[in-house]
C-alpha cells in the first residue's frame, strides 16, 4: 500500500433526511462517493445524479452473441459437421432450432449481464468489499465522501454533513 484513501462517513437515520441531505450537499459542491442504504430509497439515484445504467446495452450485445452462436452451432453441427435426419426434416431446418437459439440468447444475456455487473461494480472474486460502516446493513444510511476527490476542507464537509442531519460523522481510511 503506497498511500491511504481517506473518507468522511456520514450516518443518517431517516431516508427523507438523507434524500434532502444528498441534494443539499451536492449543491454545495461536495462530491459524494457513494450512499449505502439497507433498503431501496426512491429517488436516490436521481438525487445522486447517477446516469442510467448501460447494462441493457450489454445485455442486448450478449443476447445477439447468443442468438448468433446458438444458430451457428446447430446449423454447423446438424447441417454440416455430422448431418442427421431427425423427424424427416432437412438437415439444417430452422424451426426446430429456434427454441435452442432462444435459450442460448437468454443464457448468454443473463450470464453476460451478471458478469458485466460484477465487474463494473468492482465485485471481483478476489476483492473484499469496503465496509464504510457495518450498520448500513441494518438500520442506518451511510454516505461516503472521498476526501481526496474534494477540494473543500475536511472540517467544512464535516460541518455541512452535520448541518444536513447526519447523526454522526466518522473518518475511515482504507
Amino acid at each position: 500500500m503506497t498511500h491511504k484513501e481517506n473518507f468522511l462517513v456520514g450516518i443518517f437515520d431517516d431516508e427523507d433526511v438523507l434524500l434532502h441531505a444528498v441534494e443539499n450537499i451536492r449543491d454545495k459542491g461536495v462530491k459524494i462517493k457513494e450512499v449505502f442504504s439497507p433498503f431501496p430509497v426512491h429517488g436516490l439515484d436521481d438525487a445522486l445524479g447517477y446516469k442510467r445504467s448501460r447494462l441493457p446495452i450489454a445485455a442486448f450485445l450478449f443476447g445477439m452473441t447468443g442468438t448468433t452462436l446458438g444458430l451457428f452451432t446447430q446449423i454447423w453441427m446438424l447441417g454440416y459437421d455430422w448431418p442427421m435426419i431427425i423427424g424427416g426434416k432437412n438437415y439444417a431446418s430452422i424451426p426446430p432450432f429456434i427454441p435452442v437459439t432462444f435459450e442460448f440468447t437468454v443464457l448468454l444475456s443473463a450470464f453476460g449481464m451478471v458478469g458485466t455487473f460484477l465487474i463494473v461494480s468492482d465485485m471481483k472474486p478476489y476483492k473484499w468489499p469496503r465496509q464504510y460502516d457495518i450498520r448500513s446493513t441494518n438500520d442506518k444510511h451511510v454516505m461516503a465522501i472521498d476526501l481526496g476527490a474534494n477540494k473543500i476542507s475536511k472540517d467544512e464537509i464535516q460541518r455541512i454533513l452535520k448541518d444536513n442531519g447526519a447523526s454522526e460523522v466518522n473518518e475511515k481510511s482504507f
Binding site: G43, P56, G87, P95, P96
Partner: protein, 453 residues
C-alpha cells in the same frame, strides 16, 4: 398531488371536427369498398383464367393432404356464390371478429387492473371503458352477420355433410357435429353454436354494465365499496373470459377451417386480440395526451403501456411459434394443410411473413429501448403498426379457409377495415365524452400520480 381536484374535473369533448373526420374516414372506406367490389366483380368475369390457375395450384397442393378437398367437386354446388360476394362475406366476418376483440379487450384490461389491484393505471382506465361500448354492437353484428355469411364462411353449416346418403357426406364433420348442433339433429339449426354466441356476448355485456356502473358510481359518492365490488366482479369476469374467449376462438375462427384443429387457437386469437387492444388503448391515450387531455398521465404511464405492447408482442410471437412448431414437427396432414395454404398460396404467403415482421420484428426492435416507450411520437408509430399487423393476422386466420386460392387483399378489404375502424372510433370517442375522463375518487389515483419507473 395537491391539485387532484382540478385534474379530476377533466372531461373529453367529442368535437364536431373529430366527428366529421371519422365520418370522412367512413366515407373513404365506403368509397374504396365500392370500387373494390366493382373491381372484384369485373375480375370475376375477365380474369377467369388467372383465378382458375391459382385455384388449381392450391387444390393440387391441398388435395394430396386434405380429406375435405376430395369432395370439393361436389361441394362446389352449394359453394356457388360469386367470388366477389364471398370476399365481402369473408371481410365482413373477419373485421367483425377483429373489432369484437378490441371491444372485449377494453373490459378485459380494466378487469385485470382491478384484479391485480394495479395503481399505475388509475388515470387511463376510462379509455378501455369507452372501448367496451363496442361489445353490444359487436354482439348484434356477430349474430346478424353470422346468418348472412354462414353458407359461405362456415362450411360445416351445410346439411349434406351429415347425411350418410349424400355424396357430400363427411365422416369427420359428422363426428364433430354435436359441438354445433346439440341437442338437435346434425345438419339442422346449430342451436348449441348460436346459444354459445348469445351467452358469451350476454355475459360480456352484463359484466361490462356492472363494472361500468360501479366505476361511474364511484365518481358520485366516492365510496370505497365500489372499488371492492368492481374487483370482485373483475375476478369473476376474468374466469369467464378465460373460457369464453377460448371457445369463441374455436367457434368463430377455427370452425371455418372445419377439418383443421389446433389446441393453440384459443390462445392465439386471445394473444392477437389482447396486443391489438393494448395498442389501441395506448394510441388513444397518446393522442389524447397530445391533444392536451389527461394531465394525470406522464411518461411513466406511457412507459408502462409501451412495456405491455412490447411484452405481449413477444407473447403473441411465442404463441404463433408454438402453434407452428407443433404442427411443423408432428407433420400430420390435416394439421399441416393450414400452413401449406397460408405459406404457399399467392395472396396469403406475403401476409404470412409480413405478419411476423409487423407484429414481432418491428415492435421488438422499435420498443426495445426505454426512451422509445416514453415518447408519444414513437408510440404513435408503433401502435398503428401493431394494429395493422394484427388486422393482417386476422385476415390470414380467416380468409384462406373460405376463399382458398381466390382470396386477396385489395380495396374491398381495406375499405371494409376503414369503415369498421371509423365506426369503432365513433362509438369509443362518443362514449368517452359521456363520463369524466379521469376518475374522481379512485382509491388508486394517489399511487398513479406518484408512479415513477
Amino acid at each position: 398531488m395537491h391539485d387532484t381536484h382540478t385534474i379530476s374535473d377533466e372531461k373529453y369533448e367529442f368535437k364536431s371536427a373529430t366527428r366529421s373526420k371519422l365520418f370522412m374516414l367512413f366515407g373513404a372506406g365506403l368509397l374504396l369498398f365500392v370500387i373494390g367490389v366493382f373491381m372484384a366483380m369485373s375480375a370475376g368475369e375477365g380474369g377467369e383464367h388467372g383465378e382458375h390457375a391459382s385455384t388449381e395450384i392450391s387444390k393440387s397442393l391441398v388435395a394430396s393432404v386434405d380429406l375435405q378437398e376430395s369432395h370439393e367437386g361436389a361441394a362446389e354446388a352449394h359453394h356457388g356464390t360469386a367470388p366477389w360476394l364471398k370476399r365481402i362475406f369473408t371481410t365482413l366476418w373477419m373485421n367483425n371478429v377483429f373489432f369484437t376483440g378490441l371491444g372485449i379487450i377494453g373490459l378485459f384490461f380494466i378487469a385485470i387492473q382491478f384484479a391485480a389491484q394495479a395503481g399505475w393505471s388509475a388515470g387511463v382506465k376510462r379509455i378501455p371503458l369507452a372501448m367496451g361500448h363496442w361489445i353490444p354492437i359487436a354482439g348484434v353484428l356477430t349474430l346478424v352477420l353470422w346468418f348472412v355469411v354462414k353458407g359461405d364462411v362456415f362450411h360445416w353449416t351445410h346439411a349434406g355433410l351429415y347425411d350418410k346418403g349424400s355424396a357430400d357426406y363427411d365422416k369427420v364433420l359428422d363426428g364433430k357435429s354435436g359441438f354445433f348442433f346439440w341437442p338437435m339433429a346434425a345438419g339442422s339449426f346449430p342451436i348449441f353454436f348460436i346459444l354459445r354466441m348469445v351467452i358469451f356476448f350476454g355475459l360480456w355485456y352484463l359484466f361490462f354494465t356492472w363494472i361500468k356502473k360501479e366505476m361511474l358510481a364511484e365518481d358520485m359518492d366516492g365510496s370505497l365499496e365500489h372499488w371492492h365490488t368492481s374487483r370482485k366482479l373483475s375476478a369473476i369476469f376474468l374466469i369467464i373470459f378465460g373460457v369464453t374467449s377460448s371457445v369463441a376462438a374455436w367457434d368463430w375462427v377455427m370452425s371455418i377451417d372445419t377439418h383443421w384443429f389446433s389446441t393453440m387457437t384459443g390462445w392465439y386469437l386471445f394473444a392477437s386480440w389482447w396486443v391489438t387492444g393494448l395498442a389501441m388503448i395506448t394510441f388513444i391515450v397518446a393522442s389524447l395526451k397530445e391533444a392536451g387531455y389527461l394531465k394525470v398521465v406522464n411518461s411513466n404511464h406511457l412507459h408502462d403501456l409501451g412495456k405491455f405492447i412490447f411484452a405481449f408482442s413477444i407473447f403473441w410471437t411465442y404463441i404463433w411459434f408454438s402453434q407452428f412448431m407443433l404442427i411443423f414437427y408432428a407433420n400430420i396432414p390435416e394439421e399441416t394443410v393450414y400452413f401449406i395454404q397460408r405459406r404457399t398460396v399467392a395472396p396469403y404467403s406475403w401476409i404470412f411473413f409480413a405478419n411476423l415482421f409487423l407484429n414481432f420484428v418491428l415492435p421488438f426492435l422499435l420498443f426495445m429501448t426505454r426512451d422509445a416507450k416514453r415518447q408519444i411520437s414513437m408510440l404513435k408509430v408503433v401502435c398503428p403498426i401493431v394494429i395493422i399487423g394484427h388486422w393482417f393476422d386476422h385476415f390470414n386466420m380467416i380468409t384462406p379457409g373460405v376463399m382458398k386460392g381466390e382470396g386477396g387483399i385489395g380495396l374491398l378489404e381495406i375499405g371494409m377495415g376503414l369503415m369498421f375502424l371509423a365506426a369503432f372510433l365513433l362509438v369509443t370517442l362518443s362514449s368517452l365524452a359521456k363520463f369524466p375522463l379521469v376518475p374522481k375518487h379512485d382509491p388508486m389515483m394517489e399511487e398513479s400520480l406518484g408512479h415513477h419507473i
